[in-house]
Symmetry: C2
Subunit: 223 residues, 2 copies
């Protein structure tokens, strides 16, 4: 009956063999386009052109453009999930997940912009959340604290990605040729001392600092 898309957004659809188009191809083309030219370049007409297809054909496989964006996000979130067994050391486990998140968000700078447009969680996002909380299980916290700890790590990771996704955040830009040290003394000194390339090291240092705080506040003496 429903020859158009699917009523449930996240439903897996049969690959429908023999045809040139399917949901994964559409989502993949959209992701590739966003990676190369940014999320604003992702339009139904443009994706269709890239696939050698007419615009309306996409709507056989997706219900709406917003749904497409949700599917793009959930696809990238799947890159975050750790497939090996998690380390039993909670610091190592949280670090592993945080670095995985960081890598995916850095590889697809449009992710946060895309996910601020619906907030709806896909199945992979749920898997990721489950894995985050599972990582802190060795701490044997009550569920509310476990949620809080997972939230802290997740929040820091997202926030850092949000900042580095827009390079203007810590370098001077066009309308501001230089930051006047007379009006921004601390800022000017900090920017001057910054090494521009060590973003990953900065992330790792911050993450270790956050984990230190968690250890002090939540880790019991007897592990």
């Amino acid at each position: 009956m429903p020859n158009r898309a699917s009523e449930l957004v996240w439903d897996k659809t049969k690959p429908a063999p023999g045809r040139k188009l399917n949901r994964d191809v559409v989502v993949g083309a959209a992701i590739a386009l966003a990676d190369h030219e940014g999320l604003d370049a992702v339009s139904v007409r443009r994706i269709a052109t890239d696939l050698g297809v007419r615009p309306m054909s996409l709507y056989t496989h997706i219900a709406t453009k917003d749904d497409l964006v949700r599917l793009m996000v959930d696809e990238v979130v799947s890159e975050i999930i750790i497939h090996e067994e998690l380390p039993e050391d909670w610091r190592a486990a949280l670090g592993r997940i945080a670095h995985s998140s960081h890598a995916a968000l850095a590889a697809h700078p449009w992710m946060l912009q895309a996910s601020t447009r619906s907030g709806m969680l896909g199945p992979n996002a749920l898997r990721h959340a489950e894995q985050l909380i599972a990582a802190v299980a060795p701490l044997r916290l009550d569920p509310a604290d476990a949620w809080a700890v997972a939230g802290i790590v997740n929040d820091y990771t997202l926030g850092h990605a949000l900042r580095i996704a827009h390079p203007a955040a810590d370098t001077e830009q066009r309308p501001y040729p230089t930051i006047d040290p007379a009006v921004f003394p601390h800022l000017a000194r900090a920017l001057h001392a910054r090494t521009p390339d060590r973003d990953d090291a900065t992330f790792t240092t911050g993450l270790d600092t956050v984990l230190d705080g968690i250890e002090r506040r939540f880790a019991r003496p007897g592990r």
Copy 2:
């Protein structure tokens, strides 16, 4: 010569008295609209309608819609800036700024969605950054470490706001009637234990935890 907007985005323009429109009025109407109906409702035609004016009139005071969004963001960022003198205790100072940021971001949930669309920093964002780094000055760190510490606090605050801006992040949603405890055991337990209203307390706890980590890693024994 330039009767259209201004070539420098952030230029203050004269209030131009006697006329009904000016830049602040346009930006204010856009912010009010975003607050009430979300950023997607903010269109040039809609703002003009709200102001009792024809669409193209807005372009006398803004160069482009993207510029308008940048101006909206910088206006809200100005709410974050602390006007009293900062406490000399670095924990109190950072906490003050972080809570101020949290309040502004919670009051204008469209902020992050808007700021993920340009990343260009306005003058108020620079003032905010200056203030953040000034807050850690009592720690007497070298400039690179000061930048790192300010970044950690900022990242955590932004990340937390990013999560709470979209309520779907921690409650079940339409396509997922319930989270099956058999497939997501830890997640189900954590969600079940969560008190849905204490978002602010969660933020404060996380912030204290992050500050603990900073203290352990960066604070010298002799203050």
